[in-house]
């Protein structure tokens, strides 16, 4: 029994630390590739590690007007939420550590929590820029959740019609039974549309250009994070890094959960290694297309433009995807 708990703690710690490291590595890759696309050398891959270490060494200022307990609590909650996200996501060939029943909804909430924590922190800072940022974050949250939720629910629903016994509100079930294997051409088109919608949602979830409106440096001086420094800022920094991985892993789990190992008739530890490597590459591909390229290739939108984008075209696309999935069942 104790052995079981010990192992669980071990696994948990591995996922947490691994997630944080991975997040920072991807952030390094992100900055490097973005720099290269801008014809610059860019920072070294390890730069995010330097940043975090430096931030931890800095003074942690709590502004005079801030509500200290909320101000300091927000970054912790933010990091905790994204980290616990990792427990529910299938990583590589491994099933998620936790989860099962209903974790899909949990994941939706856990994705929203960091944004909310940031908002609370921003409001608690009582800085006008932070407050404007928090307001903008809220509007963003309310816009991009539409397509996200529609996509997730449609996929789960379609699977439930195929496997009526399965607990489809669970990521591991979704990942274990990729829909592509079951649906007809209509459904496949629907799935592609949903994937597209989620690719657009990703940069918004991650507050990256063109949706970094809550943090817009030139408009509101870093917005939500304007008053943060030192350790608190480091926690947000880490949370952002981990969230990037988590979001990408979510897309991978939903749309491309396939492993490579069984296709190559591998087994044993080698198979695990191959699958993990393949998983990391898939995550990288998602990050590359929906984070790096997008943030490098677009201007920041205004908040109402972004909201309109999500409310109309992106939600529209995901609704069409849903309808196609429904038709696919009927057909």
């Amino acid at each position: 029994m104790t052995g079981g708990i010990g192992a669980a703690i071990w696994q948990g710690a591995t996922v947490l630390i691994g997630g944080a490291l991975l997040g920072l590595v991807y952030k390094g890759i992100d900055r490097k590739l973005a720099a290269r696309m801008q014809a610059r050398i860019g920072p070294p891959l390890r730069q995010p590690f330097f940043d975090v270490v430096k931030l931890l060494a800095k003074e942690n200022v709590v502004p005079d007007h801030a509500i200290a307990w909320l101000f300091n609590g927000a970054p912790v909650v933010s990091l905790a939420a994204v980290s616990s996200l990792l427990f529910y996501l299938p990583l590589g060939g491994f099933a998620p550590l936790l989860g099962g029943h209903g974790d899909l909804v949990l994941v939706i909430y856990l994705l929203a929590v960091p944004a909310i924590a940031m908002m609370v922190g921003g409001f608690a800072a009582a800085s006008p820029y932070a407050s404007v940022g928090a307001q903008r974050e809220m509007v963003m949250l309310m816009s991009y959740e539409f397509p996200l939720v529609i996509a997730l629910v449609s996929i789960a629903w379609r699977l439930s019609t195929i496997l009526p016994e399965a607990s489809v509100f669970s990521l591991s079930v979704l990942a274990a039974n990729p829909l592509w294997d079951w649906v007809g051409p209509l459904g496949a088109v629907g799935l592609v549309l949903l994937a597209l919608a989620l690719l657009v949602v990703t940069p918004a979830e991650l507050s990256k250009i063109p949706f970094d409106i809550p943090e817009a440096e030139t408009e509101i001086a870093g917005g939500l994070l304007a008053e943060y420094s030192g350790r608190n800022l480091a926690l947000f920094y880490l949370a952002d890094a981990v969230k990037t991985v988590a979001m990408a892993a979510l897309l991978v789990a939903l749309f491309f959960p396939y492993g490579l190992a069984d296709r190559l008739w591998l087994s044993g530890p080698l198979a695990g290694l191959v699958d993990v490597a393949f998983f990391l590459i898939k995550v990288l591909v998602v990050v590359f297309f929906s984070v790096i390229v997008v943030r490098v290739g677009f201007a920041r939108l205004k908040i109402d433009q972004a909201a309109r984008l999500f409310w109309i075209p992106v939600t529209g696309i995901s609704l069409v995807g849903m309808v196609l999935l429904i038709l696919d069942r009927v057909a």
Binding site: R40, D51, V53, A57, K58, A221, G222
Partner: protein, 147 residues
Amino acid sequence: MRRLPRSFKRALWVYHVATGSCNGCDIEIVAALTPRYDAERFGIMLTGTPRHADVLLVTGPVTRPMRERLIRIYDQTPDPKAVVVVGGCGSTGGVFYDSYNVRGPVDAVVPVAVYVPGCPCRPEAILDGVVKAAVELEKLERSEVSA
């Protein structure tokens, strides 16, 4: 008392304060961030708020209204921090030496770690200045800093 971590100098975030400069140096600071010089390869990042900054890049001879602002920004910057003055006019007053509205140079207002003379400084001179600041920080790495 604590030690400055070794990678501190490899992740310097800078905040730019123009205190009455002529724009010459400010533009060269921006140039230092762009592809030809790319300050980001040293981990240097321009931040939007002094709260995130480790280094203040100050340009200009400090006009009277900017004096108090500069002090406030300096106070807002969390420790440990360093001020790098970019340009001859910020370092000494330069051509703006006998005006009724100038209260500089910068070191008459806040403590300065490194001066970068030049009018304006070439982008690489600015990078050189930041590297010199990094040398100073490295010296601190070996001793202890009061937090």
